[in-house]
């Protein structure tokens, strides 16, 4: 299958404009930015600890992501189905994969804007002290990979419903499941399966990156996770036809 990147770009442009064609996209980013910067400055212990780090910020972002990413992905397919534009889109001469990639990359870019709005935090830390930049870089790489994984998952879930709210709620629930799978309170019920369950938990791999350890196994895990859900999305569309 030959992918035309020009076609991917057409879909991408339409989708990214869709986020910003109304005030909702801007308001969403503004609220996120204010909330996250506020949260960071008023996080417990930030002003009390002696070291300057973003550890607490990355911990909180894992929770924020459970709501942020589903909100970004919920409309990607479901809105097209509800309004009937799915018929316009899927009868244009695009490969199914081009359409999926266009939508996926637009959501990823929107996440990029959201993460970009947190850049003042490391800049602020740099001005008041000497943070561990490797740790910060690792954390951001982890956030990008975690977000990219959740987006692939959310995109697939959005395909299965016409209702954005249902897409949002199911995505929150499934992301939450992948999130808690790596934690001891959950794993203690899994018995001999717990090593496998913890391995497929996104939080387990994210924690590793957020500690500044750039392990290729974690990166391969996230890339595999993304590819798997994009493939399932492709398969779902082709089967639905």
């Amino acid at each position: 299958m030959n992918i035309s990147w020009q076609n991917v770009k057409s879909i991408y442009t339409r989708e990214i404009n869709n986020y910003f064609n109304t005030a909702i996209g801007y308001v969403f980013l503004l609220i996120f930015s204010l909330f996250i910067n506020f949260l960071f400055l008023y996080l417990p212990n930030f002003w009390d600890v002696n070291s300057i780090s973003m550890e607490n910020f990355f911990s909180w972002m894992r929770i924020v992501y459970l709501f942020l990413i589903p909100a970004i992905t919920m409309r990607l397919w479901s809105e097209e189905k509800k309004t009937g534009t799915i018929e316009v889109l899927l009868t244009l001469p695009y490969q199914t994969l081009e359409t999926i990639l266009g939508k996926y990359l637009s959501a990823l870019s929107f996440l990029g804007f959201a993460l970009g709005s947190t850049i003042f935090i490391p800049i602020f830390l740099g001005t008041i002290g000497s943070p561990d930049w490797m740790l910060i870089a690792g954390g951001y790489i982890g956030l990008i990979l975690l977000g990219a994984s959740y987006i692939a998952l959310g995109l697939l879930i959005s395909w299965y419903t016409q209702d954005q709210i249902i897409a949002l709620l199911i995505t929150i629930a499934v992301c939450f499941l992948f999130f808690i799978m790596g934690y001891p309170p959950f794993l203690q019920f899994m018995g001999f399966l717990s090593p496998i369950i913890s391995f497929i938990s996104v939080s387990w791999h994210f924690d590793s990156l957020a500690r500044g350890m750039l392990d290729t196994r974690d990166i391969i895990f996230f890339i595999s996770f993304i590819l798997l859900f994009l493939y399932l999305n492709y398969h779902s569309i082709e089967n639905k036809k």
């Binding site: 339409r14 109304t22 009937g84 534009t85 018929e87 899927l90 009868t91």
Partner: protein, 309 residues
């Protein structure tokens, strides 16, 4: 140009389209008619590659829709039912987005755009948000989008649905104009629309084709046919048999006979009103009512689709 062979489509083991066959030649304008749920939209969706057939083949210009979907879609302009559009976009951005899928050269795009915008009469609305347009203008934008790549084939699913009478006439005129150099398939519930715009009608009922005729044949059928509604006072025995025998007509149907009245219908190619009257006088039947109804496309549609709506 379009060849459909043994085409079927099922959803969860429920057949929407059952083994249909038809062929449409270049330059034809064909109306797809049928009651709701007959399989018109499903057929159109298969023609455009939106659905894959459960069985059967569709070839367009020698290319298989299933195996060469992208090449086929480049030849088709498709207006889905209810003219779904991206309402968050401006008209100009929407047309550009649709055109970008066909990777047209800029000069060709400009030429096609000028034609599409002027043919559909949306010049004044070109920079407007689609969400602010009336239903009629949204429909026009949808049609303009189907023309943006100057396709060989137009597939229009209920193009006049929800429009007011003036808008319907305008869209019909536009379709006739487009038919000068394109092959067009349109679906509709409005029989008048088929008579006004099409040269051939395919009537679908319960997923099968029940009629596929040029409009000229249907018109001949209409002009030649009469349906007589007859009512006599009181119960008359053997009235249908006597009428059949004396008028040499087979299609006589007894609808009811009771102490109050006897009702019949009689279908024939000639006007036999006088003969029915003479027969009634001769047999001393108290004729209460007699009127002739000209066979219309509605009647043909009604009888072929079993009266489903």
């Amino acid at each position: 140009m379009i060849q459909v062979e043994n085409l079927s489509k099922s959803f969860n083991n429920i057949s929407a389209v059952k083994n249909i066959n038809f062929k449409i030649n270049k330059g034809e304008i064909v109306g797809l008619l049928g009651p709701n749920g007959a399989g018109k939209t499903t057929t159109m969706r298969m023609l455009t590659g939106f659905y894959k057939p459960t069985s059967g083949n569709i070839t367009i210009n020698g290319l298989s829709v299933e195996n060469q979907r992208i090449d086929v879609q480049k030849m088709i302009g498709y207006l889905p039912e209810n003219s779904a559009l991206y309402t968050d976009m401006l008209v100009c951005d929407y047309l550009y987005f649709i055109a970008s899928a066909f990777q047209l050269d800029n000069s060709i795009y400009q030429k096609n755009l000028d034609y599409a915008v002027s043919a559909t009469g949306i010049e004044k609305y070109y920079y407007r948000p689609i969400s602010q347009l009336s239903k009629g203008y949204k429909q026009r934008v949808g049609i303009a989008a189907t023309l943006i790549h100057d396709p060989l084939i137009l597939i229009l699913d209920e193009p006049t649905s929800g429009l007011d009478p003036n808008q319907i006439i305008e869209i019909q005129k536009l379709i006739i104009k487009l038919a000068e150099n394109k092959t067009i398939i349109l679906s509709t519930h409005i029989l008048n629309e088929i008579e006004n715009t099409c040269k051939r009608a395919i009537i679908i009922s319960e997923g099968t084709i029940v009629l596929d005729e040029p409009l000229t044949n249907l018109n001949a059928l209409k002009k030649g046919g009469f349906k007589f509604h007859i009512m006599f006072s009181g119960k008359i025995n053997n009235v249908a048999d006597v009428l059949k025998k004396e008028l040499s007509i087979d299609d006589v149907q007894l609808l009811s006979d009771n102490v109050h009245d006897t009702k019949l219908t009689l279908t024939t190619s000639e006007h036999v009103g006088e003969k029915i009257y003479e027969c009634a006088v001769k047999n001393n039947w108290p004729l209460k009512e007699l009127f002739a109804e000209k066979e219309s496309l509605e009647n043909i549609f009604h009888s072929l689709t079993g009266g489903k709506s």
